[in-house]
Subunit: 396 residues, 2 copies
DNA sequence: TAAAAGCACGTAACCGCTTACATTTCAAGT
DNA sequence: ACTTGAAATGTAAGCGGTTACGTGCTTTTA
């Protein structure tokens, strides 16, 4: 009776061919089939051939859920990025995916849209999916997020940013140091009145670090960033353009503008040109990221570059190691390279600039090297991209 | 004896808290816990509260593998794109992910790197993961791919391209018609010697369709595309630039160049400017895609726009419907809108051009309207972006 | 040459959850 | 008062694999 009912129960199933069917066709046990695909050395050649043939004949594709359940390994990795709508994150994901794919891992991608809470939600969803390891851009997530990870002792690594005093393993560059470098460079050109256009820094540790770095540099040179010269808003070209117009509408204009990233810089450059402001003669502008486009359009943007593909790869490799039990999680610092191009030069008032910039007429005069020099010839690329083509590499 | 051994067996498990533990703490059966989270209406309020409390206390996150196995539903969707390194695909994925997330689906992203075989491999991996539905860009996949899908009657939709005679449901625009439109536009400006720079079309149906559309248009006007004027190569700015130099090195230069996409066009424009060729006066250039950047930098590129975010959303919605058993898969054609901007104008030889272009000196002279005009005022946007701001919409 | 040690493969107990069916309870219908 | 049925909960059989153990057999080892 009871047996009847059980037998009558709809034979659930997904309809997909199962390992058991392969086993039946190959006349072996299910265990053997499993071994053929997981530990082939444990199965004789003949049997193996028979099983593979059967599997192929039935178009069998193993069911990942069943496998994950039984083996307690999902072979799924996760990565949380702010948005796919950004070349630099997309590139990181590309690098990571390549590594994970090579190692039989599926990569789950989650976008936080720059919202910490959404980031946490994504992490939870991924934990449900059974990710074995996780990479996350930045460290702006609710503390609870890291508790969850620690609780499950799930290997994770933060990417893009690097802070020597971070409590988490991270792979990236030091935002603060990078902007300090940028500030030093601009100051070395002789600029003393400098404005800044940045993306919002709530929920974005990286941006805050950048601004800190900028301030470090300015402070060291005795220059202050006036409140009126700091514009913070959406990270897009429109805001860059709008901010530039606002900045240049003031009574005393800065001679240089440091932007939080390339998009803002691109917008600012465009707006400046529209206003008839000569770049870099009347105004120097810098970006950050070295988006593919910025070195290919005029005026070629001075910016800083980080090898995001490499960040992705390194993160992938480290996490694969951690998932396998081999390898330890640790931090890796990458260099951010300054790409001096055609949107920076000494200010017109360079004659009155400090010693460093006065020593030699040309020493820091990128303008002379980059823009149409009176001599008519333009040898700028050679000099100009001096740093530009150096490969980025891990800091020793 | 045997019992002893069984009992002694290592208590496997992942270490994660399980539903059973929640049930125990809440003093209910596992079935009830499951119901609380899946069919809450079937559980009384008090019990529900007790269960939720227990789950929260234990930080329980359901195991997706177990759930998938038991329910025969993975709640996983897949999407295959050529590469993440492209704004248009990234945007499609964004749109799709938003919809899927809203519906409790996890989106798996796979990149084929423009390689059909790799695309098939990705599909197989996704089938293993148990995707319930699939979106794929383009239709360039080994036939076997579609067999697999049909075999499992897995709902899928192709995106980006649309062909009324396609055997698959697809959501996108008609590449051929779009390039026909582009060709007609360029011809209407009076151009008769036209060159083309395209990405490779092996393994890329979309590109072939584009070239067909271009040829359709030219043929209708009695113009032929000479072999020497068709340059095919990697879809990047470098190749665009290189091709332009090659084209302009010929004895008789074309007056217009139609590029397969914005990247190629961007490269061509840059190279032309470097050569001192006036755009669009000496040479008109068109792109395709309307990347975010191309309307923000000078000279603003004439191109065509497709709403990729919408494509993603529509695909997501349709597939969600299909996964739920509701809703049918069908094709949707979107418009591709021509964005006439500053890189196209009648050729210098317009005096000898057909009536349409001769009527007014300025009618189609984008150059005059967009670049610094002598008059000082620049009313071009109004006229110029006439079509540019129209929202793209589904073809009725 | 007998005992120990591999090998190759089969058996069956899970993995964590869902869900068909069984059971209990209680208000409504007759 | 008794049947009926809906509502709430429990019981336990899988879902499709993996893998610890067990079972014959063929090689070493002593």
């Amino acid at each position: 009776m009871a047996d009847d009912k059980v037998a009558r129960r709809a034979r659930g199933g997904t309809g997909r061919t199962r390992l058991a069917e392969v086993a039946q066709l190959a006349q072996v046990s299910t265990a053997t089939v499993s071994r053929v695909f997981n530990t082939p050395t444990k199965v004789s050649a003949e049997v193996q051939a028979r099983v593979r043939e059967a599997a192929a004949a039935l178009h069998w594709i193993p069911n990942a859920a069943g496998r994950a359940l039984a083996s307690r390994r999902s072979h799924i990795a996760g990565v949380i990025i702010p948005t796919l709508d950004n070349e630099i994150f997309a590139r990181q994901v590309s690098g990571m995916q390549a590594i994970f794919a090579e190692n039989g891992f599926t990569l789950l991608i989650g976008c936080s849209n720059y919202d910490p809470a959404e980031g946490l939600a994504q992490v939870q969803a991924m934990l449900a999916q059974g990710i074995e390891v996780l990479a996350m851009v930045g460290e702006n997530y609710p503390p609870q997020t890291f508790d969850l990870l620690r609780q499950r002792s799930l290997p994770y690594v933060l990417t893009y940013g690097y802070r020597h005093d971070s409590p988490h393993p991270c792979i990236g560059f030091d935002n603060r140091a990078a902007f300090r470098q940028l500030a030093d460079y601009v100051l070395s050109l002789g600029h003393r009145r400098i404005a800044a256009i940045f993306q919002p820094m709530d929920a974005n540790d990286r941006v805050a670090a950048r601004l800190d770095g900028l301030r470090d540099g300015l402070a060291a040179a005795g220059v202050t960033l006036r409140a009126a010269d700091l514009h913070i808003g959406p990270s897009n070209m429109d805001f860059g353009a709008e901010s530039l117009r606002r900045i240049m509408a003031g009574k005393t204009r800065p001679t240089a503008i440091i932007c939080g990233n390339d998009n803002l810089a691109l917008g600012a450059v465009g707006a400046a040109l529209d206003l008839g402001i000569a770049i870099p003669h009347d105004l120097s502008i810098t970006g950050f990221d070295d988006l593919a486009i910025v070195s290919r359009i005029a005026p070629r943007l001075t910016t800083m570059r980080v090898d995001n593909l490499e960040i992705g790869r390194l993160a992938g490799e480290m996490l694969i190691g951690a998932a396998g039990g081999r390898g330890m999680l640790h931090s890796i610092e990458l260099r951010a390279d300054l790409c001096m191009r055609a949107t920076t030069s000494p200010p017109r008032s360079a004659a009155r600039a400090p010693a460093a910039a006065r020593d030699s007429d040309n020493a820091n005069d990128h303008q002379a090297r980059n823009q149409q020099p009176h001599a008519g010839i333009r040898p700028q690329r050679v000099q100009h991209d001096l740093q530009e083509d150096k490969k980025q590499r891990r800091t020793p």
